[in-house]
């Protein structure tokens, strides 16, 4: 086997590629993770990031307040491009959330051990990303105070939602997704909150962690029901992820706009979602393990595995790009053909070629093990993919709209300051929530790490 040769020629340090490095006992691993929250002094890098995120969050709040006061006219949207940044942000943020659920639920069903030390923060990433996503369509409504009209409720107007509309499906999909994600995350947190309750000497922390731990005692019957419910939730969350981004893609593909009206959209969107989500998981994990000294738990092996999943998702996305081009010409439809040629050479051609560079060309670097084991390179690739995936959603939405069937209504979309403020503001708010999370809750599941210690011990004896 050629791997034997490569293993000796540039030998990778065995210790580096384990899921759990070093020698830990139940006690030391519990202390190491809970001390990040309870006693460890805060790193200056944390304060710098927190200050930046707080400023951007304030910008987000101002942008929303101004939008509610004035209306969507503060953005660059107009007919024919009535969907632009807000919907791009929505699709992008939901997609980022999906990798978190994929890591925590799907890898649990597959009994992948490398899930254990990355699932907690990935689930947090999901919740905060979906929160950002959920805000966007509401901001985008002309009359956001009527958003609840999408929900079926008894009212004197006697008007029901139009059940055949994907926008109604969307609110069910996103609503279910955020609720199930929060339940799944909180459920896994309960034993860890109990650990924090019992470890802290601070009275107020004891009370607060105690309330949220719900009186968890670690009794074996509680553990048994916990395991069953957790596994069932994982089984429910896995198809949910697929359904959510499929429904998001139906928002587009049910319409007859060239470039949207395509049956490949659901799998294409799900692959893109996982691609961008795993990229965001790397973008968050790499600074997290450096700042909080978690390199024993989130090892090079984890980053390597995430990179491999990203590579596969990237190839699926690239395949979808090829199919889109092929189908446009194979269909013989002049509007479809024009749409593809216009993407490649029209006013938005630079965006198309940037997307190809970011999502198809750059990820191919991850074929090399050396790249996958280089933290800095992976971090750069993850940022590139994040940008590329955002631009891809923008490309799909805007290039299809700006040249519709009637040439007299053609136009070009330019974002305004408030469009950018909404995008970067949501990034800031996401970062702010994430930084609050790592400071007040364990970013790694303590109880599952204890179990990993047990399994490691059994593996050695």
């Amino acid at each position: 086997m050629p791997s034997a040769i490569t293993a000796t020629s540039h030998r990778v340090d065995e210790e580096r590629i384990k899921f759990l490095r070093g020698r830990y006992s139940y006690a030391t691993i519990s202390d190491k993770i809970s001390d990040i929250v309870l006693t460890r002094p805060t790193h200056w890098g944390y304060y710098a990031g927190f200050a930046l995120c707080t400023l951007l969050t304030l910008l987000f709040v101002i942008a929303i307040a101004y939008l509610f006061k004035t209306g969507v006219g503060i953005w660059g949207v107009d007919i024919p491009i009535a969907w632009a940044f807000a919907i791009t942000n929505f699709v992008w943020w939901v997609g980022i959330g999906h990798a978190g659920t994929f890591i925590s639920a799907f890898l649990l069903l597959l009994r992948q051990k490398w899930r254990t030390s990355v699932n907690r923060f990935a689930e947090a990433m999901t919740i905060f990303a979906v929160a950002m996503a959920g805000v966007m369509p509401i901001l985008h409504l002309g009359r956001p105070w009527f958003f609840y009209w999408l929900v079926p409720y008894p009212d004197i107007m006697n008007v029901w939602p139009q059940w055949r509309s994907p926008l109604v499906w969307d609110i069910f999909a996103i609503g279910t997704y955020i609720i199930v994600s929060i339940l799944f995350w909180y459920m896994g947190l309960i034993p860890d909150l109990a650990t924090l309750r019992d470890r802290t000497d601070h009275r107020i922390k004891q009370i607060l962690y105690g309330i949220f731990a719900l009186g968890w005692r670690g009794e074996s019957r509680q553990w048994k029901r916990f395991d069953t419910a957790y596994l069932l939730m994982a089984g429910l969350a896995t198809p949910l992820v697929i359904s959510v981004h499929s429904v998001v893609s139906l928002d587009f593909s049910i319409g007859n706009t060239p470039g949207w009206h395509s049956t490949i959209f659901p799998p294409y969107f799900v692959a893109g979602a996982l691609f961008s989500g795993f990229a965001m998981a790397l973008t968050l994990a790499i600074p997290l393990r450096a700042i909080f000294g978690l390199k024993d738990f989130i090892t090079a092996r984890h980053l390597d595995n995430i990179a491999k999943v990203m590579l596969v998702c990237g190839l699926l996305v690239a395949y979808s790009y090829v199919v889109e081009i092929f189908m446009a010409f194979y269909s013989g439809d002049r509007f479809e053909k024009f749409m593809i040629l216009n993407r490649m050479s029209g006013p938005y051609a630079p965006i198309y070629w940037t997307v190809i560079f970011c999502n198809v060309a750059v990820p191919q670097l991850m074929w090399w093990k050396r790249v996958r084991l280089s933290t800095l390179t992976l971090f750069v690739i993850s940022i590139v993919v994040n940008i590329g995936m955002w631009l891809e959603r923008f490309m799909i939405i805007v290039t299809s709209l700006h040249r519709d069937f009637l040439p007299s209504s053609w136009d070009v979309y330019y974002p305004t300051f408030w469009d950018w403020a909404t995008l970067f503001g949501s990034l800031g708010a996401f970062g702010w929530l994430f930084l609050m999370f790592v400071r007040f809750l364990p970013a790694i599941s303590i109880s599952e790490m204890r179990k990993l210690v047990l399994e490691k011990k059994e593996g050695e004896t």
């Binding site: 006992s25 139940y26 006690a27 519990s30 202390d31 079926p152 006697n158 029901w160 139009q162 059940w163 055949r164 994907p166 109604v168 499906w169 069910f172 999909a173 609503g175 279910t176 609720i179 199930v180 339940l183 459920m187 034993p191 109990a194 650990t195 309750r197 019992d198 470890r199 105690g210 309330i211 719900l214 009186g215 968890w216 005692r217 670690g218 009794e219 074996s220 019957r221 509680q222 553990w223 048994k224 029901r225 916990f226 395991d227 069953t228 419910a229 069932l232 939730m233 429910l236 969350a237 198809p239 949910l240 359904s243 429904v247 139906l250 109880s447 599952e448 204890r450 179990k451 047990l454």
Partner: protein, 187 residues
């Protein structure tokens, strides 16, 4: 109701607690305790120990059944709502589609099946486990705060018909624990 004192003026106790050095020792001790005839036995561990629930006599958890019921209620409920609103209460001819256009009703039905099942799984697990319950006498036990960190405990409750203070303490000591202590009702 918790008695404050017994007839002879002693503090009443919740049970006797033995600590074991690792998970395997705890499972072995729990099995022997059940074999000895004790019925009200609880085992506490910092993670989910395989085989431990069975060792303390836990037969089946009904979380899966509850989850199934939640899924049926969620999915059936939303399909009924769609059918009722689109066929009975406010029928609209939307592009010539049938009023009961079931393929278009599937996405909300799927989502609400998942939602109902997940809510029932979560709250079913909590309620069946007797949570939330912020106070419990076991928290009065010495060093019990380490049960969520690294220690393994076995408790025989005083309510057990076979429980006798001295005899049970002798029995627990015979299981090779690291220590045996009394769990009082009040701290």
């Amino acid at each position: 109701m918790t008695p404050t004192t017994t007839a002879n003026g002693e503090q009443p106790i919740y049970g006797l607690l033995a600590e074991f050095k690792d998970a395997d020792a705890l499972v072995a001790a729990a099995t022997r305790t059940r074999d000895e005839g004790y019925a009200r036995v609880d085992a506490y561990a910092p993670f989910s120990v395989p085989g431990l629930p069975e060792a303390v006599g836990f037969r089946r958890d009904r979380v899966a059944l509850v989850t199934l019921i939640g899924g049926i209620i969620g999915g059936g409920g939303i399909y009924f709502l769609q059918w009722y609103s689109a066929v009975v209460n406010y029928p609209i001819n939307s592009g010539g589609r049938p009023f009961n256009s079931w393929p278009a009703f599937i996405p909300p039905t799927f989502e609400c099946t998942v939602l109902g099942a997940a809510l029932f799984a979560f709250f079913g697990y909590l309620l069946l486990s007797g949570l939330p319950k912020l106070h419990h006498p076991i928290f009065n036990a010495k060093e019990f705060d380490l049960a969520t960190r690294s220690r393994f405990f076995l408790c025989i409750e005083a309510l057990d018909p076979k429980f006798e203070r001295e005899a049970t303490e002798r029995f627990l000591s015979s299981l090779d624990p690291t220590c045996v202590s009394v769990v009082p009702f009040s701290p």
